[in-house]
């Protein structure tokens, strides 16, 4: 017997089996390719395929639950890709330290050539566009709002020429991240302790998530700026 909740549209029930099979096929192709490759970087790229198969299987549910489960899956995949790429880079640096006879250029960056953004729009527009993006992100709240506001911060950070961040600012961003985590937990707890305060707990959680995601995406922009703005 197959139990289907009554609020699932009948269209989605017919789409269930094809989506599940497509997810299984994509996951199988990704796993086979991972099993056949030796280089770690290729395996890291192929992990994306497994993430896409996960999205297929979850989205086949077709209700709001699917949407709520896809968001953390994507965020975890993003964090995992970031962490593993950093590990690969630092391991390669250790290999170079162990064997310094290999002659290497000191500077390694995102753009090997000096990359100067000498466009007029990069000096005049970013203030306004970043302000609009951050304002719209705060209005949206939640993960999507955090991504939009973080995009504004990235644009501002990439287009401004100032280099280097004082340590105090980075500590401040870490502090904002911790506070937002506390907001999220308080909102979650309040949701169960006092269910009649659901609106305030929802907004606590949404604003916490907004602060966290925006500060993280902004940090990525600051990292990239160190690579881009070299003369």
């Amino acid at each position: 017997m197959i139990f289907t909740p009554p609020y699932v549209p009948s269209e989605f029930i017919f789409m269930y089996m094809p989506a599940i099979y497509a997810g299984l096929i994509v996951g199988f192709i990704g796993s086979m390719a991972i099993a056949m490759k030796r280089e770690e970087l290729h395996i890291l790229i192929l992990t994306d395929l497994i993430g896409l198969a996960m999205i297929f299987v979850v989205s086949a549910v077709g209700t709001d639950l699917a949407e709520a489960l896809i968001l953390p899956g994507l965020v975890v995949e993003l964090a995992e890709t970031m962490a593993i790429s950093e590990i690969l880079i630092s391991r390669e640096m250790r290999k170079i330290d162990a064997d310094p006879r290999r002659n290497l250029s000191k500077a390694s960056s995102l753009f090997p050539q000096p990359f100067a953004l000498n466009m007029e729009i990069m000096t005049t527009a970013p203030n306004f566009i970043a302000l609009v993006l951050i304002g719209y992100g705060i209005f949206l709240t939640g993960f999507t709002g955090g991504a939009v506001a973080g995009g504004g911060i990235v644009l501002y950070a990439l287009s401004k020429k100032a280099r280097g961040m004082p340590v105090l600012v980075i500590d401040g961003i870490a502090g904002v991240s911790g506070i937002s985590w506390c907001l999220w937990i308080i909102g979650f707890l309040l949701f169960f302790v006092a269910p009649n305060l659901w609106l305030i707990s929802l907004f606590l959680a949404a604003c916490g998530l907004l602060l966290k995601v925006a500060s993280k995406v902004g940090l990525i922009g600051l990292l990239m700026r160190e690579d881009i703005d070299k003369e």
Binding site: E11, F12, M15, P18, A19, A22, I25, V26, I29, G30, M32, A33, E39, L41, H42, L44, I45, L46, D48, L49, L52, I55, F56, S59, G62, A66, E67, I70, L71, L74, V75, E77, L78, T81, M82, S85, L88, I89, E92, M93, K95, I96, R102, L104, S105, S108, S109, L110, P112, G142, F143, T144, A147, G151, V217, I220, M224, D227
Partner: protein, 86 residues
């Protein structure tokens, strides 16, 4: 009125084609080509999410795809400059 199933099956087709291209497609020994090929599968998944009306998931998928592409490019270029066998 275009049938929603058209987008759905085209999304599945693109996702499977993109994953095949990522795994065994032409020129995938270059990691940049492999990264670009994952975008094809990603567009297929976007179409699927569009059929299911998952707006937030679609926006988040697009945002994380962009960020993951940036991170992967940074890793690829750094590793190639350091002379690793990628």
């Amino acid at each position: 009125m275009i049938d929603v199933h058209l987008f759905f099956y085209f999304g599945i087709f693109l996702a499977i084609l993109g994953s095949l291209a990522t795994a065994w497609g032409p020129g995938v020994n270059d990691p940049i080509v492999r990264t670009f090929n994952t975008e094809v599968a990603s567009i297929g998944v976007c179409l699927i999410l569009l059929c299911y009306n998952h707006t937030l998931a679609l926006l988040t998928l697009i945002a994380t795809t962009v960020i993951i592409t940036l991170i992967l490019f940074r890793a690829i270029i750094r590793l190639e400059e350091m002379g690793a066998d990628v």
